[in-house]
C-alpha cells in the first residue's frame, strides 16, 4: 500500500523545491505567510508549555513539529468553512482565526475558550477521540443541503482512526457525498502507543478505500504540500465531488501533554532524523532567496509581542463566574436547575 499511496511532497528536508510546477505560486508574499503563521503558532505553543510549567494554565498538549500540517491545511480554507479540531489543533484554529487569548483561556479551564469569534465556524476542540468526525460530516451535509460551496474539515490523529466514530463518520460522508475533508495528522504516536501497535495497515490513506473516499498521503512537514493537497480536496468538496481523506505524515516532537514523559516509551533518538517544518521552510526560504534576516526578526518580535499580549489578556480576564456553571446548559433552563443555582449562590455569599 505504501506504493499505492506514496508520500507527496513539494519541498524536501533540505528545502529544495521538488515540484517545479509550483514555482510561480511560491512567491515572496505567499511563502512568508506560511512562515509567519508557523512561527506564530510555534511561539504560542512554546509559551503555553511555559505557562503550564509555571502553573499559570492547566495540562497542555503541545503540537510542536506539526505546524506545517496545521498551518498548511488551515490556510487552504475559506471564510465560510467549518473547522473541527482536536485538543492538539490550536495551531490550526489560531491560523483560521481563533482568538489567541481565548485559546489560552481554554487551557486554563475556561469555557470562554470554546467560543469562536463571530462568523468563525470553529468547533470546540474535541476531547473524546474521533467524536468530531461525524460532526464534520453532518455540518458539511447541511452545507450541501443549503447549496453553498462551504465545507467542513475534521482534524484527527493516527490513534483516532481506531475508534468507531472515525468509521461511522467517513461512511456517512461517503454515502451522502458531503463536502468534508478528513485531515489526519499521523504523528506516529497516540500518547505512548506507536502507530505499528495502533493498526496493522501500512498507511492511513488506504483506509479511504473502505468507503470509496479518495485519499492521499502527504508529507505533513511540508507546508506547501499540505496546503495544495488540502486546497484540491477543498475544490472537490466545493464542486460537489464529496469527501477526501488526507494523511499528513508528521512527527510529534515532544511529549503527548505536559503531564507525559515520552522517555518512558520512545526509543532513544527516535525521530532525530525528522527535520521539523519551520527549519525546513527556513531552508527553502534561504535556498530560494525569500529569507530577509531583518524582516524575519521584526516579524518574530511582532509575534512575540502578540503572544505576550494574549497572555496578559488571558490573565486579566474576569474570574470565571459561578453563574456560568448553570446558565448555558439549556436555552430555557428548568425551574429545578434555577433553584440549585439560587441556593448555591446564596450559600457562597457568606464566604
Amino acid at each position: 500500500m505504501e506504493d499505492k499511496f506514496p508520500i507527496k511532497r513539494i519541498i524536501d528536508d533540505q528545502g529544495n523545491l521538488l515540484e517545479e510546477s509550483f514555482k510561480d505560486q511560491l512567491n515572496d508574499q505567499f511563502v512568508k505567510r506560511f512562515y509567519y503563521h508557523m512561527y506564530r503558532i510555534r511561539t504560542f505553543d512554546r509559551k503555553a508549555k511555559n505557562l503550564q510549567r509555571q502553573g499559570r494554565i492547566g495540562t497542555y498538549p503541545p503540537f510542536e513539529g506539526q505546524e506545517a500540517a496545521q498551518v498548511g491545511s488551515a490556510l487552504a480554507l475559506g471564510p465560510g468553512d467549518w473547522m473541527f479540531p482536536t485538543y492538539r489543533d490550536h495551531g490550526a484554529m489560531l491560523t483560521f482565526g481563533a482568538d489567541m487569548s481565548r485559546t489560552f483561556l481554554y487551557w486554563n479551564g475556561r469555557v470562554e475558550g470554546c467560543v469562536p469569534p463571530d462568523g468563525k465556524n470553529i468547533f470546540p476542540a474535541a476531547v473524546p477521540i474521533a467524536t468530531q468526525i461525524p460532526h464534520a460530516a453532518g455540518v458539511a451535509w447541511a452545507e450541501k443541503k443549503k447549496g453553498t460551496r462551504n465545507l467542513a474539515i475534521a482534524y484527527f490523529g493516527d490513534g483516532a482512526t481506531s475508534e468507531g466514530d472515525f468509521h461511522e463518520g467517513l461512511n456517512f460522508a461517503s454515502v451522502f457525498q458531503t463536502p468534508t475533508i478528513f485531515f489526519n495528522q499521523n504523528n506516529r504516536y497516540a500518547i505512548s502507543v506507536p502507530i505499528e501497535k495502533q493498526m496493522n495497515s501500512e498507511t492511513i490513506a488506504q483506509k479511504g478505500i473502505a468507503y470509496g473516499i479518495p485519499s492521499v498521503r502527504i508529507d505533513g512537514n511540508d507546508c506547501f504540500s499540505v496546503y495544495f493537497e488540502t486546497l484540491s480536496a477543498a475544490e472537490r468538496a466545493r464542486n460537489g465531488d464529496g469527501p477526501t481523506l488526507i494523511e499528513a505524515v508528521t512527527w510529534r516532537t515532544g511529549a503527548h501533554t505536559t503531564a507525559d514523559d515520552p522517555t518512558k516509551y520512545r526509543p532513544d533518538n527516535q525521530g532525530i532524523d525528522v527535520v521539523e517544518p519551520i527549519i525546513r521552510l527556513e531552508r527553502f526560504m534561504k535556498n530560494y532567496e525569500f529569507w530577509d534576516e531583518k524582516e524575519m526578526e521584526e516579524m518574530h518580535v511582532l509575534i512575540e509581542d502578540e503572544v505576550e499580549r494574549a497572555v496578559q489578556e488571558m490573565e486579566k480576564y474576569p474570574k470565571a463566574k459561578v453563574e456560568d456553571l448553570f446558565d448555558h446548559v439549556f436555552a430555557n433552563p428548568p425551574q429545578q436547575l434555577l433553584a440549585q443555582k439560587e441556593s448555591y449562590l446564596e450559600h457562597i455569599k457568606g464566604e
Binding site: 467549518w82 469555557v111 470562554e112 470554546c114 467560543v115 469562536p116 468547533f123 470546540p124 476531547v127 473524546p128 467524536t131 468526525i133 461525524p134 460532526h135 464534520a136 460530516a137 453532518g138 455540518v139 458539511a140 451535509w141 447541511a142 452545507e143 443541503k145 443549503k146 467542513a152 468507531g164 466514530d165 461511522e168 463518520g169 461512511n171 456517512f172 454515502v175 456560568d324 446558565d327 448555558h328 446548559v329 439549556f330 436555552a331 430555557n332 433552563p333 428548568p334 425551574q335 429545578q336 436547575l337
Partner: protein, 339 residues
C-alpha cells in the same frame, strides 16, 4: 421553563381519531410541513416508513432529502445530527429501538447534551431523538429496554414520554420547537392499543408539565408511558375496595414536574410509583427524593415503588413476570394504604 409556542387556533376544533403512533406520525408531518429545516432521519424511516410505520408516507410527501434513510450506524446518526442541528437544521433522528441507542451514548453524553454549555450558548443542538421503548410486545432481546434513567441523569437533554395520542402529538411538536435537545420516548406497547380524538392542527403539550389524570384523596399513583394504563386500572380496582387514588402521568421525565408530585402527595400522604425500568437507579427514585425533599412531614407511609426487577429485561417468555402488573400495583396500593 416551557417552550414558547403560539397556540394555533383552537386545538380542539377539528379532530381525528388516532392511535398513538398515528399521532406521532401526524406530529412529524405537521412539523415537516411547517418548517423546511425539519428533517427526519434514521434506519428504515424513508421508503419503508419505519419498522413500526411511525414515519409512514413522510418520505413520499416530503422527499428523500428531508426524510432520509441512513446507514445502520447509531453514533453516525446522532453525530451527523449534531452537525445538522448546529448548522441550521432541526433533525428528528430515529433510533429504531431504545435498546439500540447505546452505540450513540457517547455522542449524546459528550456532545448533544454539552455543546451549548461548553460554548456558552454559541452553538446549540436543537434536535429530537425518537426511540420506541419498553416491553410487552414479544420482541426479541434488547428490543424491550426502558432505560430513560440513563438520560434523565445526563444534564443538558430533556426527556419526554407520552402515554396518549393527544400528548404524543403535542409533545412531539413541543420537542421539535424546543431550542434544546429532547429525547422523545415512545411506548411501543401503546402504539396501537387505543385511539383518541387528536386535533388535526398544530398544538403543543408543554415540556415539564405532568398531568393529573384522575383526582383522589388516599394514595397518589405516579407513572408515565406504557405504565399509565396500568396505574389507571389499578386505581379503578382500588376504588372498588374503597381506596381513592390520584393518578399522575408525568409525561416529561426531565425536568420532572416536582410541583404536581409534591402537591398531590401533600394531599394524600401516600405514593406508589410505577415504572418498568429496574428498581435500582430507576427514575422512580427521583420521584421519591422529590417527595422526601418537599413533602416529608406529610407522609403517612413509606413511598412504595413497583418496578421492573433488577435483572435485564428478559426474553419475552418471561416478560409478563418482569413488567409491573395491575395486581402488583394494587398490592402496593393496599400495603401503602394500610401501613
Amino acid at each position: 421553563m416551557t417552550t414558547e409556542l403560539k397556540k394555533v387556533g383552537n386545538p380542539s376544533s377539528v379532530t381525528q381519531k388516532m392511535t398513538l403512533i398515528q399521532a406521532i406520525n401526524d406530529g412529524m408531518k405537521t412539523m415537516l410541513a411547517e418548517d423546511e429545516t425539519t428533517l427526519v432521519l434514521g434506519e428504515d424511516v424513508g421508503k419503508n416508513g419505519g419498522v413500526f410505520r411511525a414515519t409512514d408516507g413522510l418520505q413520499e410527501q416530503f422527499g428523500n432529502d428531508r426524510v432520509v434513510d441512513t446507514p445502520l450506524s447509531e453514533s453516525g446518526i446522532i453525530g451527523t445530527s449534531v452537525g445538522l442541528a448546529v448548522n441550521g437544521f432541526k433533525p428528528i433522528a430515529e433510533i429504531q429501538f431504545m435498546g439500540f441507542i447505546y452505540p450513540a451514548y457517547d455522542q449524546i453524553m459528550t456532545h448533544v447534551s454539552r455543546l451549548r454549555m461548553k460554548t456558552m450558548g454559541h452553538f446549540s443542538v436543537p434536535m429530537v431523538i425518537r426511540a420506541p421503548y419498553g416491553a410487552g410486545v414479544r420482541a426479541p432481546e434488547v428490543h424491550s429496554d426502558s432505560t430513560e434513567a440513563l438520560f434523565t441523569h445526563m444534564p443538558g437533554i430533556k426527556v419526554v414520554c407520552p402515554a396518549t395520542p393527544y400528548d404524543a402529538k403535542g409533545l412531539l411538536i413541543a420537542a421539535v420547537k424546543d431550542p434544546d435537545p429532547v429525547l422523545y420516548l415512545e411506548p411501543m406497547r401503546s402504539y396501537r392499543s387505543s385511539r383518541e380524538e387528536v386535533p388535526v392542527e398544530e398544538y403543543h403539550v408543554s415540556i415539564g408539565e405532568g398531568n393529573v389524570r384522575k383526582e383522589g384523596e388516599d394514595v397518589t399513583l405516579i407513572a408515565w408511558g406504557a405504565m399509565v394504563p396500568i396505574i389507571e386500572k389499578a386505581a379503578q380496582k382500588a376504588e372498588e375496595q374503597g381506596i381513592n387514588c390520584e393518578v399522575i402521568d408525568l409525561r416529561t421525565l426531565y425536568p420532572l414536574d416536582k410541583d404536581v408530585i409534591a402537591e398531590s402527595v401533600k394531599k394524600t400522604g401516600r405514593a406508589v410509583i410505577v415504572h418498568e425500568a429496574h428498581a435500582t437507579g430507576g427514575l422512580g427514585n427521583d420521584v421519591a427524593t422529590t417527595i422526601n425533599d418537599q413533602a416529608f412531614l406529610y407522609m403517612k407511609a413509606p413511598i412504595n415503588r413497583v418496578t421492573g426487577f433488577d435483572v435485564p429485561v428478559p426474553f419475552f417468555a418471561l416478560e409478563e413476570h418482569y413488567l409491573p402488573t395491575v395486581e402488583r400495583v394494587l398490592k402496593a396500593i393496599q400495603d401503602t394504604y394500610q401501613f
